[in-house]
């Protein structure tokens, strides 16, 4: 699975960080998303999918399975 983030869409809610802290972080100054792992291991697939669903700005996209 490949993860893409659309930073200009991000609203800094931080929900992805709560669900998948190994994949997402937030910038200190404004809270915008930082992608830590573009190709997370398979055991994180479900958490990353939930992060993409929960994102209130639809700023996370998954490519491939």
């Amino acid at each position: 699975m490949q993860v893409e983030v659309d930073v200009p869409k991000c609203v800094a809610s931080g929900q992805c960080v709560l669900i998948a802290p190994d994949v997402f972080d937030q910038r200190d100054e404004d809270g915008l998303v930082v992608l830590l792992d573009e190709h997370p291991p398979a055991e994180l697939n479900d958490a990353v999918r939930e992060s993409a669903t929960v994102c209130p700005a639809a700023a996370i996209r998954l490519v491939g399975s």
Binding site: V11, E29, E50, T53, V54, A57, A58, R61
Partner: protein, 399 residues
């Protein structure tokens, strides 16, 4: 229910309905998912309507919540442009406005809300993309706008309109905008930003009706503007459930599992559910709640059995202010400013209800500063355990 439902129908094709559909697939539902929506388009995002779309910073092609190929991957039976008009829970069918029916084994109701109107001449409202584009055409230098209602939506629209050079008058019946939601002091500080940006904010000013030249106030006088936006809140879309036997009370009444009846779940703005974290029934029109509750309803529909006990969250962008709030602020007993400075509009306010920390509202604070507070609210932390007795500012009622 013992057997997994084969046919799931989701009524309402916006954020909550989409989150439910995605979650059903993620958790392994292989049966059909029928997604019904009264708007003609695929699910799109609404918060940018009063921000980036209204200002022109974004074009509408940025609004779809998912790429078409991602939606295709969910294998949905989509029925857009059709409203649900009736429900027969005995026969387990939904009646649609085009005369067709959708049969279900399990149902998710996510029909959302619609704007309240005022009597008189039709005025602008702001809920759909069409609404936003119609209003945007009326803004700019030399134009005039009256916004009725200084809640979060009205405040955002006023800020954008003023930023585009529009002459804006913002009318609010309460003495302090947003006071019922965030308290008098925080409401005053937030509304001061309107005055600083040239918006003519008039509090204690109630509108009786819309007239062709503007609005008529309850004192009989008329304020004129070329365009009027009514932003006085919303009503849940529950009329189609009348007579279905489901419990309706300013929303579809659901339990802590988001269940309204056997095999019927509610999610998003339309749902009034019991939030066990705050021991109270709530109906929340926040973007994040729509998604979280869509996920929770879908999980429980599949037998998840997990109470939905979120810390509500919302954000609002007004002028240069980034406002973020976590928790259940309504009905609070006390507000304290625990970080920052009210006068600089950079602060974190903590809210007490009973002996618990129940909410925080931050303006211009780094999100990482706010996150520990969100965790403390979720952990039902006692007020005295997080608020130092010497907190710099005390507002509201003191114990």
């Amino acid at each position: 229910m013992t057997a997994a439902p084969r046919r799931v129908v989701i009524v309402g094709a916006s954020a909550a309905g989409l989150a439910a559909a995605e979650t059903l697939r993620r958790l392994g539902h292989t049966g059909t998912i029928t997604l019904i929506g009264d708007e003609a388009s695929a699910p799109y995002d609404r918060p940018p309507l009063s921000k980036e779309i209204l200002s022109g910073a974004w074009t509408p092609d940025r609004l779809p919540l998912r790429a078409a190929s991602d939606l295709d991957g969910l294998d949905l039976d989509t029925r857009y442009g059709r409203a649900a008009i009736g429900l027969d829970p005995g026969a387990r069918t939904v009646q649609l406005s085009d005369g067709s029916e959708a049969a279900y084994d399990a149902l998710i109701v996510s029909t959302g809300v619609r704007p309240r109107h005022l009597p008189g001449t039709p005025a602008h409202v702001l809920r759909t993309l069409d609404d936003a584009l119609a209003l945007k055409d009326r803004l700019g230098p030399g134009r005039s706008l009256i916004v009725v209602g200084a809640g979060f939506l009205g405040a955002e629209a006023a800020a954008v309109a003023a930023g585009l050079g529009t002459k804006v008058t913002l009318l609010e019946p309460a003495p302090v905008p947003l006071a019922h939601a965030v308290g008098q002091v925080v409401g005053s500080v937030l509304s001061q930003a309107h005055l600083d940006h040239g918006v003519d904010l008039r509090t204690g000013t109630a509108v009786a009706e819309i007239v062709p030249t503007g609005v008529r106030l309850t004192d009989g006088s008329v304020l004129t503007a070329e365009t009027v936006l009514v932003a006085i809140g919303c009503r849940p879309n529950i009329e189609w459930l009348t007579g279905s036997g489901l419990s309706l009370d300013d929303g579809l009444v659901c339990d802590e599992y988001c269940a309204a009846a056997p095999a019927v779940y509610g999610a998003g703005d339309v749902s009034r559910w019991h939030n066990p974290l705050f021991h109270t029934s709530m109906r929340i029109e926040h973007r994040t709640n729509a998604t979280e509750q869509g996920i929770a309803a879908a999980r429980n529909l599949l037998g998840g059995g997990r109470p939905f006990a979120p810390v509500p969250y919302f954000w609002s962008d007004q002028y240069d202010m980034k406002i973020r709030a976590h928790g259940h602020l309504r009905g609070h007993d006390e507000v304290r400013i625990v970080e920052g400075d009210l006068r600089e509009r950079t602060f974190l306010a903590a809210y007490r209800t009973g002996n618990r920390l129940t909410g925080v509202l931050a303006v211009g604070m780094p999100p990482k500063t706010v996150r520990p507070w969100q965790r403390a609210i979720a952990a039902r932390t006692r007020w005295q355990d997080v608020i130092p007795a010497s907190a710099p500012t005390t507002t509201g009622t003191t114990p």
